[in-house]
Symmetry: D2
Subunit: 378 residues, 4 copies
């Protein structure tokens, strides 16, 4: 599949993660940077090369990629001088980003909205002669949503009536599948995690993966919690405080939106350590941190004969820098899965996600092994 | 093998780790504590039960176990009230601890010394009708030693001449093998890690394992370093500061002794991350910490497009509490290996050690998997 | 005044802080411990000696002091062996603790309740022939309360009607003043911080001090925030996470109760650094921590030419150990102030409090200097 | 004195601190930055304004200021875009920096070298019509030096013979005094801290100040150690680990050079807390940190009844950003002191230094008060 052209369609194509991913893709293609942080470079698998990709997307924001990239340079996400080197290609990608779906600005049925979204993706695919397109959701986190329609039939009937039925992230997944695309949910939003959408993906033999990219505190927890269990040490409490600036911080300073993320994080910890661990978790918006995220975890555990011990972790990360290469990795992996005819949730990609769809494995090393095995079967 | 009696012979039988292990064994046997921290409880293998063990040992110290246990209670290693409950049994074990080998107090050939040590172990085995004995070295860390005799023949010839040829830890391993015992090196001392002693173990079909129990900072590193490599993140520096009180701290405040430990730690980090990581390491003696050990690690790493990020870890552990259950685990595992006729270094026990003899695997999860596989073959 | 007898009346006399203070007072008197943590030992002032004090109190709890002291020994607050040495004296103090005011269990007017409380204190004073009594509130933190009666006259009129007018902490202060006692508010509850109670204290020429003992995170902030301001460094954000076990943690896990404490803490930071510092603050209940309190502060600041820097603080304290000597200090200081005829809020005691009544000085060093100056004038 | 011109002569004028100070001075003068970090802005004193200064200096390095400033921009010390705005003025200052004294490259007597240095400064002063010049040493840290000549007479006799008598920092101080200049020692090198140089300064009625700018870990210690003492808490140990990149890190990775700094730091801690505190200190060179300095302090302390508690501090600072405004502050203060006819060590400037010459006051708040008082007397 190395000679075919592949599309990467980013929902939220002008956000920090998307801008970093696109700028990085252009830099990789131009040989301006090594592929640090790109997990697919470690795999033994026939994946599309960096220069096979054409990028487009949806966004309700209008700030151009170039301007966003300059802001990310000031915040230490992008290295000085890079944006200037790829400015023309950034502008070309920006021209492929079309208005996204905004529930507040839309009056018809969601079916009409979906048809428009599907049409955008199909037109992109045809315009560039792409063998396939992978749609990745990197838009802002939504509050948790309740969707009562559990079959595709009842969902589609509801979509045809006026008024909102699906949250935006799920409408995007619906539109992606209707366009025959593989789908990746990189956020904790509802997205593809609905029985009716799973039914749709399987009926069209489309692969998907999600949910919520594992980029910071949860990555650490997935690596460290198994240390305690494999040593038969009893974790009593694992508390977390997350300080975020940037757009993500502003969104998550809304408790309703934050709850999607907190639920996703808590689920992983309980899966790793059991339900009875005290695990308060806070997300604070601290604007001066910019794109930096600082988290502090305090782990209290009991050892032999009841001895009390503790571990503290302070993580100082750049979320967009951690997320962007995974977005590119997932684009390559889902393109290959699509080419190989895989269908439904790709559970062996749990390595990438806080809340892996279809998988109960949360231990990082075991997830890495599953990924490597899966890649060899492509 | 569940009905046979097994011996556990502790070299350094009156130290903190030994005292904690013995007190804990007595508490487990009496049902006074759950087996928190005991890895063998997670394995699917025919291992000797806690009440199969009789304990004895060598030590040059004369402070009785009971007194040491009281001091460990004050330092938070043993829970209040436990020592009183097992005082009689502690005294019985103390009566089985005989004077160890002390190079400064010995004038004959080391062969004579070894013969005496072997005789002590054999007499213990016969006195208690033990099917087998596992010797575990938990004595104080020695400085690095140079031993030039690489064959068993040349070594034994040298041992018969007056003057020291082997460091004490290696003489103990030699004596253990001469007594037909399995051997575990829980310290970073030279111990069994010599070609001539490997030759001796194999010639007598005896299993052994080592070296340097992995109980704190290195345990964390073995769990976390693979997180970075599996995510293709580039670790630039990983610095460590260790604050130790207690007897271990006093010993390691001697730079010569500390160098054994530092070498052992550095080797693991280089194996996990490559040789070019800046990794200064300090061990400080801070008497007020008592049995507590506090370590601070600062990890600086590079992600996508050269982004700079960091992680800090503060570990607050009780080394004896972390080491003691592993000593009991290793006694059970080596007894089973001995019963199963295994010979030479048991490389699948790398999970337990900072510097695993015969193994290049330093990743904790992979070590845990190897241990579980190995246990199922017993 | 060194030969006179003085009373210390603890509201909440069976809590952790009171138990630690009483046990410590007995130990100091018996010469069993040095006065570590007692600030009055550093002062040049005629204060009542440790053996001048007789202790009594109110509490709605019935767990005896001795039992509470044993629990505090297990939690590391009291040293092993001490409680046994002072058991008889502890029992004697326990006999002086009478039932406190409990709004839910009381049906008459609050004036009747206050009369009973005043009577208890007066009887204690007469029974022991005490020259004066200092009442210290160390009961659990209440939620914020609104009291609309701003004059003593209107307050007393309201108190005579059935139903609650004052929160318990304020009723206790009212009763103390009616008994002619000096009063200390060691908690963030409303207590004495009401105009009508200030009027009462002044009318009776009684000194008082408060509010909310400064024992951990806020102590650190009072010491460190002036570092930034004196160096003209601009603090951008100062976030705090507090992990508490124990009874205090359980009380403060109730957000309504916690808000009293959070308000008190935030006020101090704003006074030190200005209103525009981002300062989210969390208090989490983590039962396994017992009496230990762990707090993490992250300070982000800007230096010359906009350079961004940070400081992190992890405090691991025993709140009762930090509070108890201050309670004893305040008993000595208020007794001396009472003897010297001081009246109203003793603003020069701001050193002891998170939210110092009558003072705008929050810088620790300046508070210490004011205390030393004040002491010399006694 | 507001209308007169003043000179600032930087020994080590092309280093990181000097480059940051000069760039910052130009930015302040142009109104491009607020005076964050400049302590003199808080003082009530007649000090020379920013635009009164002309800058020159000595350096053995030849990398132009402009190039150095670009490197400091990449490292986050200088904000993007600033250097371009002041490039011409930077070049003008660079033209005033002349070759410094390098012992290895010099063959005559040190008297000849000093005469040349004095001449450089005098020519600078005359060329620009400066009312006075303040010489500030910001060159690399030297190893500790022994100077046996305790009187000016014997020193000058020795200087006239061939071969080195004084370390470079002291020769610079000698030359500065001979030129009639005030002198500031911002490094831990020997510099002016010699009886013979004190004699020279006094004989010429010249003020001086030093030693070793207090910019990071020691600043924290000076703020926090008094918290413990004022609360009668007993500090048992205070350990420190410093991770440095940059040129300073490279210099201090040489243990001989580091010992000057370690001695200076240890002296302060002992003065604050007493001699019996366990206080191991490490300085590690970690190149990837660039201009950033990360330090970790662990403080173990004892409270009431022997309770054990701890505090950890992680400081993440930019040393040049912290040092540069203090260099400008000291230039203003010493210029004013010189104008006011002050002579000898200005002990009330202890606020600025790790190892304050002529002062035993190490408490930060008291040092700040002394500074403010002193400034009001100018």
């Amino acid at each position: 599949m190395t000679s075919e052209r592949v599309g990467l369609w980013l929902n939220g194509g002008r956000g920090s993660v998307a801008t970093t991913a696109v700028t990085g893709l252009l830099a990789l293609r131009a040989g301006l940077t090594p592929p640090t942080g790109c997990v697919t470079e470690l795999l033994d698998a026939p994946l599309p090369p960096w220069d096979a990709f054409t990028v487009g997307g949806h966004d309700i924001a209008t700030t151009p990629l170039l301007k966003r990239a300059e802001s990310l340079t000031r915040d230490g996400v992008l290295p000085p001088g890079l944006v200037e080197s790829v400015a023309d290609e950034l502008a070309a990608v920006d021209a492929e980003i079309v208005p996204g779906y905004h529930p507040g600005a839309f009056t018809g049925s969601q079916q009409d909205a979906a048809t428009r979204l599907t049409g955008d993706i199909t037109a992109f695919q045809e315009r560039h002669g792409l063998a396939r397109v992978v749609v990745v959701n990197v838009a802002s986190t939504e509050p948790p949503a309740t969707v009562t329609h559990t079959t595709l039939e009842s969902l589609e009937e509801a979509l045809r009536t006026p008024g909102p039925v699906l949250p935006p992230s799920s409408l995007v997944a619906y539109a992606a599948f209707q366009a025959g695309c593989a789908f990746v949910d990189f956020t904790p939003s509802t997205g593809v995690a609905l029985p009716a959408l799973d039914e749709l993906a399987r009926s069209k033999s489309l692969p998907y993966a999600g949910r919520d990219g594992k980029t910071g505190e949860t990555l650490l927890r997935a690596a460290l919690a198994p240390m305690f269990t494999s040593r038969a040490l009893k974790v009593l409490s694992w508390t977390g405080t997350n300080l975020l600036g940037g757009g993500d911080g502003a969104t998550l300073s809304n408790p309703e939106h934050a709850s999607s993320k907190s639920i996703s994080k808590a689920r992983g910890l309980a899966a790793l350590l059991g339900e009875d661990v005290t695990a308060p978790l806070h997300i604070d918006y601290v604007p001066d941190l910019g794109e930096r995220k600082t988290s502090w975890d305090h782990v209290s555990f009991e050892g032999f004969l009841g001895a009390r011990m503790s571990l503290q972790l302070t993580w100082n990360g750049l979320d967009s820098s951690l997320a962007a290469p995974l977005v590119l990795d997932l684009a390559r992996l889902l393109a290959a899965a699509h080419a190989a005819g895989r269908s439904g949730p790709q559970t062996d990609l749990a390595f990438f996600f806080k809340d892996p769809l279809g998988s109960t494995e949360h231990r990082l090393a075991e997830q890495a092994q599953a990924l490597h095995r899966w890649a060899r079967t492509l």
